[in-house]
Symmetry: C2
Subunit: 368 residues, 2 copies
C-alpha cells in the first residue's frame, strides 16, 4: 500500500507536447475505510453542522434530476452576508483548487508571470506548469517565514498562502498591505485556507486594493472537505473575470447538494465558532505535549502542527505512526524533509498520537 | 426576468488579454422555483433511482468532513462494469462539460486544431476560444445531417455530438468508424450525452480505435443533472492523459455525495431502462401530436424534439409558451432560429404543452 498516489508516467501520443514533463499534484492519501486515525490532510475532526444534515434530505436528493443553479446564488448570498461584502464580490468554486486554477488561467499568461514561496501549497507550481507560466519560487527565510520585501514591487502575480502550509506560519495584514501597495499592477492572491484558526483575514482590505483576491475553503474550518467548496472574495471586476473562466470551462460547477450543505454550514455561525475553539484548544495542548517530548513545533495559526524531532527523521516518524494506524503527512522536499505535518484531530485522537509518539521515541532511544 | 443568463461585458484590467473577446457559454435558464414546466435543458422528468435516495443518507452526509476519493474508484468501477470495460478506461468528471474541457486542454494546442459542426452543442466553440485554438466549424447539410466525408482525413481533432444537439439527429457507428479510420493521428471525440434515447454508442469500437474518446453524462438518462457527473471511456493511455489534466487542475473534482448517487444510479439498471422506455414512448406520442398540429419535427434519437411550425417563429413560440409557464429552448443562430427545442417531460407535461400550443396556434391563425 502506498502512502501517496503517484500519477503514472504513461501518456498517449495524442497528448499535447506541452504536457510531456508535467508533474501533477499528489494528493494526500484518502483511504476509503475508517481503519486509520486520519491526521494527514487537515480535515476537521468534527462532522458538519447539524444544519447541514437537515439541509441534505431525501426531498432535495430527489431534485437531483434538475440542474443546479449555475449562478450559485443561494450560497453566494450566504457567504457575502457572513463577510459583509456584496454577492457580486463572491465566486464559488468546486473546492478552492478550482478557484485557484481559474485565477491562474485568468490572470497569468506568457507575458504575466507568477511567484510564490519555495515551501508552500504544492499545487501552485502545478498550475504554473499546466498553463506554461514563468513561475519564480522565492525561498522562505531560514526560520520558514516569508520575507515581505521579496514580494514588494516584484513584477509578477503574487500567490501567498496565509497562514502558509505546511509551515503554519502567518503574516499580518499590515505585511500583506505592503505587498499590495507595491504591486498595484499585479494580482496579489492570498490563499486563506487556514485563516479561521488564528490568522488575520485580508477581506477587510478589499475596498482599498483592487488587485487583491482572497481565497478560502469549506474543507477545513467548516467540516465540508467532501462537499468540494471553495470561494474567492474580491472586487466585482475580478469576480466577473473568474466567472468568465467558469462559464467558459464548466458553468454548472457546483452540484445541488453541496450548495445546500455550504449554505447551511455558512449560516451556522455558532457551530463554526464552537468547532474552531475546540481545535485551537486541542492545538495548544498538543503543541505543549510535543514540545515536552523534545519536538520543535512551529508557531501554528492553522489546524495542523509542523514538527520535527532531533532523534527522528520525518520519513521515519511518518512510517512508524502509520504502523500504528495513524496517518500524518511528510513532504520529500529537502528543506522540510525532517518535518512532519500533523492535523489537529479530536482530543482523544491527539492522546493516541502522543502515546504512539512516546512509544516510537522510546524504541528509537534504545537504538541510539 | 431574462430567459437566459448573459455574462456581463465587465472585465478587469488584470484579465489576460487573450480573453478580451471571449464569449462564455450561456446556460439554459435554471429557475430555482417550481413555477414552470421545465422543458428547456433536457433534464429527466423522473427523479433519480430510489437507490440514489437510499445512498445519500444522514450517515454519509456526516462524512462530508472527509475529502472524497480523488481516484473516484467506486463510481469508476461501477461504470466500467456497466459498459464491460476496465476501470482504467473510465474517467469521471464534474459533469461532462469538465470532461470535454479537459479533453480540449489535453489534446489540442496551437499546432493541433479542432473541428465540429456549425450547429451542435454550443460549448465546443467556447472551449476553443478559452484555449485559443484554431476551430473549424463545418456546416451541417441542408437537412441538418452531418456529412461524414467532411470529417474524413481532416487533419484536426474531431468533436461530434452523437446524437447531435439541438437537432436530435444521429450517425450510425459505421459512419463514425469511417471518421475514426481516416483520422488515425487525431482524436475523435464522440459526445454521447443523449445516446441512451435511441442512438448507437461507440463504446464497442474502443478496442479497435486508440484515437476514440466517448463522453457520456448522468444528467439526462440517469436523472442526475444536479449531481454533476459525466465520464469518458477510452483507451487506458487517453484516460491517463485526462487524469494528468485533472490532477493538475482539480484532483478532488467529484464530491462524496455525487460519487454515491452516481454509483447507485449506474447500478439500478432496471430503473434506468424503465425511465428510458417511458421517455421514448412519450417522445413518439408527442412527435405525432405535434405533426398533427402542422409542425415539422426532426427524427429525434434524444430526449428532446427539435421542431418548427410554418406559422410561428421559434422566438415567438418560445415567448408564448413562457407566458403559459412552459420553458423551452430557442437558439438565435440564423440557421435554426425558426426552431424550438422541447425536452420530453412526463406524459402530463406534454399534454399541457400540446394544449398550450393549440391555443397559441389558434390565436396566431386569427392574426394571420
Amino acid at each position: 500500500m502506498h502512502p501517496t498516489i503517484k500519477r503514472e508516467v504513461l501518456m498517449s501520443r495524442f497528448l499535447s507536447e506541452r504536457f510531456a514533463e508535467i508533474e501533477p499534484y499528489t494528493p494526500g492519501e484518502q483511504p476509503q475505510d475508517f481503519d486509520y486515525i486520519k491526521l494527514n490532510t487537515n480535515e476537521s475532526p468534527y462532522p458538519p453542522s447539524p444544519k447541514v444534515l437537515e439541509a441534505v434530505n431525501a426531498e432535495e436528493t430527489a431534485k437531483l434530476r434538475l440542474y443546479s443553479d449555475p449562478e450559485v446564488r443561494q450560497l453566494t448570498q450566504e457567504i457575502a452576508e457572513f463577510y459583509g461584502v456584496r454577492p457580486t464580490q463572491v465566486f464559488v468554486g468546486n473546492g478552492s483548487d478550482e478557484v485557484l486554477a481559474f485565477s491562474f488561467l485568468a490572470f497569468c499568461d506568457a507575458d504575466h508571470p507568477v511567484c510564490f514561496p519555495d515551501i508552500t501549497y504544492g499545487f501552485y507550481k502545478v498550475f504554473a506548469q499546466l498553463f506554461c507560466l514563468d513561475a519564480q519560487q522565492i525561498p522562505l527565510q531560514e526560520d520558514f517565514s516569508v520575507r515581505v520585501e521579496d514580494y514588494c514591487d516584484c513584477g509578477r502575480m503574487v500567490v501567498l498562502a496565509n497562514p502558509n502550509a505546511p509551515t503554519g506560519l502567518s503574516l499580518s495584514t499590515d505585511q500583506i498591505e505592503r505587498i499590495l501597495q507595491t504591486n498595484p499592477d499585479h494580482i496579489v492572491l492570498i490563499d486563506e485556507a487556514y485563516v479561521d484558526f488564528g490568522g488575520e483575514s485580508c477581506i477587510p482590505l478589499l475596498g482599498r486594493y483592487p488587485n487583491l483576491i482572497v481565497v478560502q475553503t469549506f474543507s477545513k474550518s467548516r467540516s465540508l472537505a467532501g462537499a468540494r467548496l471553495g470561494f474567492a472574495v474580491a472586487s466585482e471586476e475580478l469576480i466577473e473575470d473568474l466567472n468568465k473562466m467558469k462559464f467558459s470551462f464548466n458553468p454548472y460547477n457546483i452540484n445541488r447538494l453541496s450548495i445546500l450543505a455550504g449554505t447551511a454550514a455558512m449560516n451556522d455561525k455558532a457551530y463554526f465558532e464552537q468547532c474552531r475553539e475546540e481545535i485551537l484548544s486541542t492545538r495548544s495542548k498538543t503543541k505543549a505535549a510535543l514540545e515536552q517530548l523534545g519536538f520543535q513545533v512551529l508557531d501554528s495559526k492553522t489546524n495542523f502542527l509542523f514538527v520535527r524531532h532531533p532523534d527522528l527523521s520525518g520519513d521515519d516518524y511518518t512510517r512508524q505512526l502509520r504502523k500504528k494506524s495513524i496517518l500524518v503527512r511528510h513532504f520529500s522536499q529537502t528543506r522540510i524533509k525532517n518535518y512532519v505535518r500533523i492535523t489537529i484531530g479530536t482530543p482523544k485522537q491527539m492522546e493516541t498520537l502522543l502515546e504512539a509518539t512516546k512509544e516510537i521515541l522510546a524504541i528509537r532511544r534504545q537504538e541510539l
